[in-house]
Symmetry: none
Subunit: 226 residues, 2 copies
DNA sequence: GCGTGGCCTTAACACTTCTTCACCGCATGA
DNA sequence: TCATGCGGTGAAGAAGTGTTAAGGCCACGC
């Protein structure tokens, strides 16, 4: 079975060129010519990896990567301008798996793509998240801690998922609201605090022991990695 | 637990430089200065990844890589000369996980190393610092001295981490503020003194015995190396 | 349409954390 | 030894967060 790869890049000529070359080598390439289209293509279809251009008008590649990482662990290979170390390092820190500096040879790209695909696990879509004692079943919208089910409301569940997807990393309040589907509505950020408070008590947080959800003053919250 | 990484490279100066930088970031580097020694070090010890120079006298890096791949899937990151595309592509095809072109910045190397470690064994990326009696768990944001947990506030923790990363070296006040994420905000430097004072008492510092955190008059503070 | 109940948001107050200030003691160099 | 300046530390004020409770909104059933 060929690997399905999504290319997000505004350069149509490159897309065609790559598509040709890769299809001869067992990779089926789909192209999206900007960030938003790329993201919705990811929502809609099943892909094994993403090729992502960093320099794009509108939503730039790093932003696209951030959004991809909020919802999946799909392997992402960045395409960066030669010598732009900052983008590369930031990209890798956000969670890119690799990068290729432009201009690149198709042969090198293929080799790196294969290296990335080889490492990634089959069975891509994670419908269940596990972070330490916490288990989240996303389609069923259920969460449990140490085997005990927690009765969460809608937004509480969404906030918990947003935290769990980035366990160990700080998630700003506004990002939590955005991922809970409140990004467009204007809502006081203190609202998040209240939901966090409820989450903590429902997740059986003992005030004496180190909390599962930690506060990062002035920014947001982190879910402890174990 | 720090990640253990084996460097196979004939350049002793590079080895020392990298070892310093990586050890501050939770990676324990062991150096082998040629291919055969590298291979036997791999036989002997447990490593989480390999940094492999391609250009070496005697057995070259690609040959070393081939032999590694006959017996293990250990993540291998190649160090190649800039622009030498052939080596890079061959290396990736043989089964290297990534490469970094020389000359590289330590920061980029670290980022790539972490990306590789993250893929291969989630959870091994070193996020724990140890300095004498002091143990710091960075993602959990917890610190303990001699087995006793210290309840630190956010900025106290950040300052402690900044000191621990450079244990044994003097860290100026402004650097401490910068690493605690206050680099942009204008804050009086005396603020640091107050936090240091709190840290000392929370870390169980006895005023009579030599302090864990030493003052360097006119400059800043040092964390005693043990 | 009307009441009911659940959920989200806001407000208010208690509490924690960070910063600044003030005062004191100690180290340093004349 | 004395003068000076730097750092240690307690305390107060400012800013941020935890938590409870009340009000508004919506969906649902009657």
């Amino acid at each position: 079975m060929p690997s399905r790869v999504l290319l997000i890049d505004d350069d149509a000529r490159l897309a065609e060129l790559l598509s040709d070359y890769l299809s001869q080598n067992g990779v089926q390439l789909t192209a999206a010519n900007d960030g938003p289209r790329g993201l919705s293509a990811l929502e809609a279809g099943a892909y094994d990896a993403v090729l992502l251009d960093v320099m794009m008008p509108g939503m730039d590649g790093l932003e696209v990567l951030r959004r991809i990482r909020t919802r999946s662990d799909l392997p992402v290979l960045m395409l960066t301008a030669k010598g732009d170390e900052t983008d590369r390092v930031v990209g890798l820190e956000i969670g890119a798996d690799d990068y290729v500096a432009k201009p690149f040879s198709p042969r090198e790209l293929l080799a790196r793509l294969r290296a990335v695909l080889r490492r990634s696990r089959p069975g891509v879509v994670a419908e269940r998240l596990r972070v330490g004692e916490l288990v989240i079943d996303i389609p069923a919208r259920e969460a449990e801690v140490g085997g005990t089910r927690a009765e969460l409301t809608g937004i509480e569940f969404d906030i918990l998922v947003a935290l769990a997807r980035r366990a160990g990393r700080v998630v700003p309040r506004e990002a939590l609201l955005a991922e809970a589907g409140r990004g467009d509505v204007v809502v006081g950020e203190r609202t998040v605090d209240v939901h966090i408070s409820h989450l903590r008590s429902k997740l059986g947080d003992d005030p004496r022991s180190p909390s599962l959800i930690k506060t990062v003053r002035g920014i947001g919250y982190v879910l402890a990695k174990e």
